[in-house]
């Protein structure tokens, strides 16, 4: 029995091992064979037990084990299992040799029996050691395999996720592109609206100017008419004096007529200039910089703004002060644009002083203390100054001033403190754009010291 237990265990284990290996690697044919080998080992063990023919079964075991080893050793597919085969081989060989020696040269065997026993024991130890090391190696390999598998799984998951993300990105990109297109369209619409608003702001300020322009044209026209009439009369007089032979008087009258003609030319040009300025003001294109006399431009728009307001509000009045630095020669600007800025700042200044006056009138009821009201003198000062490489235009009023909150927002589009319908809220933001963007200058606002009114400062660079 002892003789057949170890071969049984070994052959069963080996067959089992090879069977599983074949199964894992899907070697159907070998799987079947090793399954048979397993059953055979069980059958052989059982036969040995039942028949008690240990001698017979012993040889059977030898044949079975040797053939199993040799058979397996020859198969290419089983190369990976050679370590097992090598583990089993010493035992199979040693035990076969021991049995053969025992049968063939019994004396020799008996004499050396302990050595044979030891050899068998050693082969078993070898087997156990190899199996053990194989077991450990397998475990490590298995661990490694599991790690790889996990890694693969992660990689696969990542790949899947990547594909998903790519899909998502494509989707999002399409969405964003669509949104971008919509935004571009909206932006274009906004630009168009802005252009319209700018045009309407121009037209609004032109409307404000109309009355001023009418007044400004009316005055020179009156002079043209009056001087023409008087010249015509003077010519009659001159003819009379000539008849009388009064040459001195004739010469004097002729001189007067000449002066009158000069006046007619002067006022004709003045009206012409105003009409041109008006046309330029309403024009949306033609933004070409040309040498412009800033003082003259400021003076022109001061009159236009003042008379424009006067014509609209007859009770309005203010003292106009000018302080022009004669050292300023022409500088390159777009005249109608800078004119619009000056006009806008002046209109605001006039509005501020008239508001303050109205406030004072409200606060002091009729027949009340009118001292303050009387002493308030609405004043708007426009001054120019030549700085180093720059020209400064200051518009200063003694109006109601601007609160600190408003100072920060004053150049924002659509920001206005005027009652609805009175201002577009675009004047100052447009002025700001004109000065800073189109002319590379600065536009600042500051409350005056002492808390009376504000000063707007336009600084324009002088470019040669």
């Amino acid at each position: 029995m002892n003789n057949s237990l170890i071969p049984f265990i070994l052959s069963f284990l080996l067959s089992q091992r090879l069977f599983r290996f074949s199964k894992i690697n899907n070697y159907r044919q070998w799987e079947k064979w090793f399954s048979y080998a397993r059953f055979f080992s069980v059958f052989l063990f059982a036969a040995g037990l039942i028949l008690k023919a240990s001698n017979t079964t012993q040889w059977m075991w030898h044949i079975f084990l040797v053939s199993l080893l040799l058979f397996t050793f020859q198969q290419k597919e089983m190369q990976k299992q050679r370590m097992y085969l090598l583990a089993f081989a010493p035992y199979v060989v040693v035990s076969l040799l021991a049995d053969l020696t025992r049968v063939i040269v019994t004396d020799f065997y008996i004499r050396w029996e302990s050595y044979f026993g030891n050899a068998v024991m050693l082969s078993i130890i070898w087997l156990v050691a190899i199996l053990f090391s194989q077991y450990r190696q397998n475990k490590a390999t298995e661990k490694e395999r599991i790690r790889r598998q996990k890694e693969d799984e992660i990689n696969r998951a990542i790949a899947i996720r990547k594909v998903e993300l790519e899909d998502l990105v494509t989707e999002r990109t399409a969405e964003i592109t669509k949104q971008k297109e919509e935004l571009v369209q909206t932006l274009n619409e906004l630009k168009a609206t802005q252009a319209q608003l700018i045009q309407s702001e121009k037209m609004a300020s032109l409307g404000e100017l109309t009355a001023g322009i009418a007044h400004e044209i009316q005055n020179p026209l009156n002079f043209v008419n009056n001087f023409s009439e008087v010249s015509s009369e003077l010519l009659d007089e001159m003819a009379e004096e000539q008849k009388k032979g009064n040459t001195e008087e004739t010469a004097a009258i002729a001189n007067d007529i000449k002066q009158n003609l000069e006046k007619i030319i002067h006022h004709g040009k003045r009206a012409d200039g105003i009409v041109k300025a008006m046309l330029q003001h309403s024009r949306s294109s033609s933004e070409i910089k040309k040498p412009t006399e800033i003082n003259k431009l400021a003076d022109e728009y001061l009159r236009l703004a003042y008379h424009g307001l006067r014509a609209k509000d007859k009770s309005f009045n203010a003292t106009l002060k000018t302080d022009f630095d004669e050292a300023i020669s022409s500088i390159d600007v777009v005249p109608q644009e800078i004119g619009r800025v000056i006009l806008n700042l002046l209109t605001n200044a006039f509005y501020a002083v008239s508001e303050k006056k109205k406030q004072l009138e409200k606060n002091t009821p009729a027949d009340g203390n009118q001292a303050e009201q009387k002493s308030y003198n609405p004043t708007v000062l426009i001054s120019t100054k030549k700085l180093n490489g720059k020209v400064e235009i200051k518009i200063c009023d003694n109006g109601k001033g601007i609160s600190e909150d408003d100072v920060d927002k004053i150049f924002q589009p659509f920001y206005t403190t005027k009652p609805s319908g009175k201002g577009t809220g675009l004047g100052l933001s447009m002025s700001y754009e004109i000065v800073t963007k189109a002319h590379g200058g600065q536009l600042n606002v500051k409350n005056n010291k002492g808390g009376e009114g504000v000063t707007f400062t336009v600084i324009l660079p002088v470019k040669k």
Partner: protein
């Protein structure tokens, strides 16, 4: 202020009518001087020109009540013609000077306001000099 010296020289000659013209348009001076060329030459009228309300008040202060007629524009920067009118009438000059208002805006509101303040007459620009001469003749 150019004509103040002549104004001074002539201030004792009571036959000469003194007219103070107030307007911010400086060319009003040669225009008046030529329109009233004959009257000036014949020493019938003497003109003084002021280019703002403030200047006009200074003129009146310096030369007492010698101006018999004041022709004033309404629409002037600083002190307006109406304010000037108010000041003149307020001070009760005796004899009171005749004040005629001249304005480019011949509207009801300005007219009523001027009349309320005691304006003696109201003319619109462009000035009809024939009419003005008639009115001056009547004053004499």
């Amino acid at each position: 202020m150019l004509h103040l010296p002549s104004f001074c020289q002539l201030k004792n000659n009571m036959k000469i009518m003194k007219i103070l013209v107030v307007d911010d348009e400086k060319d009003i001076q040669p225009l008046f001087e030529q329109r009233f060329r004959r009257e000036i030459k014949n020493d019938e009228i003497n003109f003084v020109f002021a280019y703002s309300g403030e200047e006009a008040l200074d003129c009146l202060k310096d030369y007492k009540h010698e101006a018999v007629l004041i022709l004033s524009d309404i629409n002037m920067p600083g002190m307006s013609g109406l304010e000037l009118l108010d000041r003149i009438k307020e001070k009760n000059h005796k004899p009171p000077p005749v004040v005629m208002m001249i304005t480019a805006y011949g509207d009801e509101e300005n007219y009523k306001h001027a009349m309320k303040l005691g304006a003696d007459d109201f003319l619109t620009k462009p000035v009809d000099f024939k009419e003005l001469k008639e009115k001056i003749k009547k004053l004499k």
